[in-house]
């Protein structure tokens, strides 16, 4: 195919134009976070820092280190647990279907789409009653439960691709539920686990509504709440929130950069059919 040169030029022009627009916020974060407070004047906002100032990151680290730690303590167990449960559920719902299992799956999926505001008040009361309000364990529980629909969905679709004959052969050989899982299903689950783990990691790390409702005012607030508290105040010193934003964004951004392929797969799975 021969293409007219103008066309090619136009395509690259449009693409580069949007690349600049898409990178503007990133540029802004970086230059602002490397400026000293007295350099942050509205009129010079787009200029590079001069001199480069690193103190903001030290300060932001001091401010946010406990919250980053909270986020890590939350995200690791919650992600692992919801991946394991999702894998088991997906295995049952694709290879051990029973009467009504499709309806139950549908009812489960609905939980993925509800506005969480509609369960927030009873959730808050429930956690309060069982003594988990304000704790990281409480948040872990919440994220595992409300992560069940998506993790189950991803694994169910993933296992649907596994030929039923493989399972049947296992059954004929006398292998039971767990043996088939551990010998046949689990060993080929790695890509599914990667997709689910990346998805849940990103979601939970970035989550705000549960975190602000269930841990505000305690020492257990994740990074998103802490960042909002700092940036939401009046008369903000913008170098600090920007440095904090960079820190808050870094883990998910790195995952995206290095495992983007799987990230996109999770993204596409979110639209039910995938």
């Amino acid at each position: 195919m021969k293409k007219k040169p103008l066309n090619r030029f136009l395509i690259y022009f449009v693409l580069v134009f949007f690349v600049i627009i898409f990178l503007l916020p990133a540029y802004m974060v970086i230059v602002t976070s490397f400026k000293s407070p007295d350099q942050i004047e509205l009129t010079r906002v787009w200029q590079l820092p001069n001199p480069w100032y690193f103190q903001s990151f030290i300060e932001a680290w001091e401010t946010f280190a406990p919250n980053l730690k909270n986020s890590a303590l939350l995200v690791v167990p919650a992600t692992v647990l919801s991946a394991i449960l999702g894998s088991l559920n997906g295995y049952v719902l694709s290879k051990w279907k029973f009467k009504g299992s499709n309806i139950l799956f549908q009812l489960m999926l609905f939980g993925m789409f509800i506005p969480y505001q509609s369960i927030l008040i009873p959730l808050f009361q429930f956690l309060d009653r069982v003594g988990l309000y304000g704790s990281i364990q409480g948040l872990i529980l919440v994220h595992v439960v409300y992560g069940l629909p998506i993790t189950t969905l991803i694994f169910r679709n993933y296992y649907a691709e596994v030929p039923t004959e493989m399972i049947e052969a296992g059954k004929i050989d006398g292998a039971g539920f767990f043996k088939i899982y551990s010998r046949i299903v689990f060993p080929i689950s790695l890509p599914g686990f990667v997709v689910v783990i990346i998805w849940q990691f990103t979601q939970i790390w970035n989550e705000f509504l549960f975190a602000v409702t269930l841990t505000s005012g305690t020492g257990n607030t994740p990074i998103t709440v802490a960042l909002q508290n700092l940036a939401g105040g009046r008369a903000v010193q913008w170098n600090l929130p920007m440095a904090g934003s960079l820190m808050a964004a870094l883990p998910t951004l790195l995952v995206y950069l290095f495992l983007g392929r799987y990230f996109i797969r999770g993204l596409l799975a979110g639209s039910v059919k995938g």
Binding site: V45, M108, F110, Q117, I119, I121, V212, S271
Partner: protein, 373 residues
């Protein structure tokens, strides 16, 4: 053989037991809690302190939300959500499609472009909201971009703008809902008719005609749900939030469309080229129609994100900014800052109903076609 059958039955039992905890958790945390919220929304419950009474008051909270003078903020928040959703979806769809088509042209560095258009998706709304709030500072940020080229700065007020356009009067809401019903019925009647469902089509047409008569008879104009006019419209302050949201989510649409375009068989394109079809024609007549199911499911996903949006707006404008309120923010403030739990529950139920209205037909539809396959 018999032993094997028993073993299979036992394994089926184990399978059920393995999924049971998840089912119970979802049953309690999703359906049980929704039920509890629904119940609370029919009471006058305020505050969490011990000894607070909870009396059943029927639909009072809902009635107040839609008609009480004090609750004007809720009505504006619904209108905001409507406009936000329309512009957000339109923005994401068009940018996503544009990127996908451009990147389909054997572009150099295609991977790099894709990476850049999609990176905002990996960020938290809190991070992007913080950054955009700084970018949309009326005296800095985006407004100063033209000065880099020696031009005058822009004077857009962004999030602090208080202008409202496209106003309509809430007092006449029943009439507007009538028009909406009419349009919906016409659409459904035509769709059923095309699908060969004569009866369904006839019923929809009948409801449509009844609505039309009701509207034309002037009866609709007589139902006034308020005692005074109450204009609501599109708050220009929302534009900045739409910008940030589109920046964050249009990469998702691009990924969806790229996957869709990849799914179009190359032979189909080649055949069209051999027939002398231009590239534009191939897109218009072959590829775009094949992308329609993707557009639909993406609209559902984006739509439900937008209907329940909370964090982005909360962090961009803070809790005290009524002009850009959406129900998600208002519910949080009402219940958890104002201790008005019953009213918060009612707002949450309205949100749930709106989302369910979009999601349930979609879920039922998707899973039905899955069974047919």
């Amino acid at each position: 053989m018999n032993i094997k059958k028993i073993a299979l039955k036992r394994d089926q039992m184990i399978a059920f037991l393995m999924i049971l905890p998840s089912l119970i958790l979802i049953g309690l945390f999703v359906y049980g809690f929704i039920f509890q919220t629904a119940w609370s929304s029919f009471t006058d419950w305020e505050g969490v302190a011990a000894g607070i009474e909870k009396n059943f008051i029927g639909f009072e909270n809902y009635k107040n939300l839609f008609t009480k003078l004090l609750d004007i903020r809720f009505r504006q928040s619904l209108v905001n959500t409507l406009f936000f959703t329309v512009f957000f979806i339109a923005g994401c769809l068009s940018l996503g499609l544009l990127f996908a088509i451009l990147l389909d042209q054997n572009i150099r560095f295609e991977g790099v472009f894709r990476l850049i258009f999609l990176y905002p998706m990996s960020l938290s709304f809190i991070v992007s909201g913080t950054v955009w709030r700084w970018l949309l500072n009326p005296k800095g940020g985006i407004n100063l971009l033209p000065t880099l080229f020696g031009l005058d700065p822009l004077e857009i007020k962004w999030l602090t703008d208080r202008t409202q356009i496209w106003q309509f009067d809430w007092i006449a809401l029943p009439k507007y809902l009538g028009y909406l019903l009419l349009a919906l019925m016409i659409f459904l009647a035509i769709r059923n008719f095309r699908a060969g469902k004569k009866w369904g089509s006839a019923i929809m047409a009948l409801i449509g005609i009844a609505t039309l008569i009701w509207l034309l008879s002037g009866k609709a104009d007589q139902i006034l749900i308020l005692d005074y006019p109450e204009p609501h419209g599109f708050n220009l302050a929302l534009i900045g939030i739409v910008l940030a949201a589109v920046w964050q989510m249009s990469g998702y649409m691009m990924a969806m469309y790229i996957a869709g375009i990849r799914g179009v068989p190359d032979e189909l394109r080649e055949a069209a080229r051999v027939d002398g079809a231009s590239e534009i024609k191939i897109y218009r007549d072959i590829i775009l129609p094949m992308l329609r199911p993707i557009t639909l499911s993406a609209m559902i996903v984006l739509g439900h994100i937008s209907l329940k949006i909370f964090d982005l707006i909360f962090v961009m404008v803070g809790p005290d900014n009524a002009t850009t309120d959406v129900p998600g923010v208002l519910m949080f403030l009402t219940a958890f800052r104002g201790n008005q739990f019953a009213k918060g529950a009612a707002i949450a139920m309205v949100m749930l109903l709106i989302v369910a209205f979009v999601i349930v037909p979609y879920l039922v539809n998707t899973l039905r076609t899955e069974h047919e396959l």
